[in-house]
């Protein structure tokens, strides 16, 4: 939900929009500077940066595989599914990364935040034994609810542009 929270705040202008290209340039410059200061630690710095980049998503995959697989004795199929999904996402990413890069970053994060929140509520409920009406279709209802509430939150928190810049 932190993705959704940030996307709402950015859409409303409470916090400035995130510029991925600038962030990448700044991070690259900082790493170059660190490497220049201490050549021997270059690999360590690169390793830590890469580790940070994949840690969160990697842990999420591990948690989902354990949550879905261990309860029903299906750890191996769940792991194979996770690896297949990883390869599929990498392949699709390679194909569509250019058109995807044209989608405004905050819109993308807004959509991902809504999906993650909807899936999160659904799966947490499943884990607690909630018998959702209309089963998996409930996710669509949750997504619509999160979208409506988030849209309302953006409208309520919206700032004039001048205020954001100051």
């Amino acid at each position: 939900m932190r993705w959704l929270r940030k996307a709402i705040l950015r859409s409303a202008g409470v916090i400035p929009l995130h510029d991925e290209a600038t962030a990448f340039a700044a991070e690259t410059a900082e790493l170059r500077e660190q490497a220049r200061r201490n050549e021997a630690r270059l690999n360590w710095i690169g390793g830590v940066t890469t580790f940070k980049a994949v840690l969160l998503e990697g842990l999420e995959v591990v948690f989902i595989v354990i949550a879905l697989g261990s309860g029903r004795g299906m750890l191996v199929p769940a792991s194979v599914g996770a690896i297949a999904a990883c390869l599929l996402v990498a392949a699709v990413g390679l194909i569509v990364h250019r058109p995807l890069a044209r989608v405004p970053e905050n819109t993308l994060k807004f959509a991902v935040g809504i999906m993650l929140s909807a899936f999160g509520v659904f799966w947490t409920g499943e884990g607690l034994g909630v018998d959702w009406p209309v089963a998996e279709l409930a996710i669509v209802g949750f997504a619509a609810t999160f979208l409506a509430v988030s849209g309302a939150a953006v409208l309520l928190a919206r700032r004039p542009k001048a205020e954001v810049l100051s």
Partner: protein, 68 residues
């Protein structure tokens, strides 16, 4: 020691952005779990707590950030 603290702070920052929001979500899940355990005959009660609790936590977090 400072470097270690910085690394730990960075790691924590990957998972927690707004501490109050994270705590609220944990409280909602715990509450929903307790309701599911104590009232197994009304499983949707826990579901409603989850959904509306998360929405309330989200709105409250946005409102807090807006006021700052």
């Amino acid at each position: 020691m400072t470097a270690l603290i910085n690394v730990l702070r960075e790691l924590a920052g990957l998972f927690v952005d707004d501490g109050a929001l994270a705590l609220a979500i944990i409280a909602i899940v715990v509450l929903a779990g307790m309701v599911a355990m104590l009232m197994p005959g009304i499983p949707l009660a826990a579901g409603a707590i989850l959904l509306f609790g998360c929405l309330a936590a989200l709105l409250s977090s946005v409102a807090r950030a807006d006021r700052r």
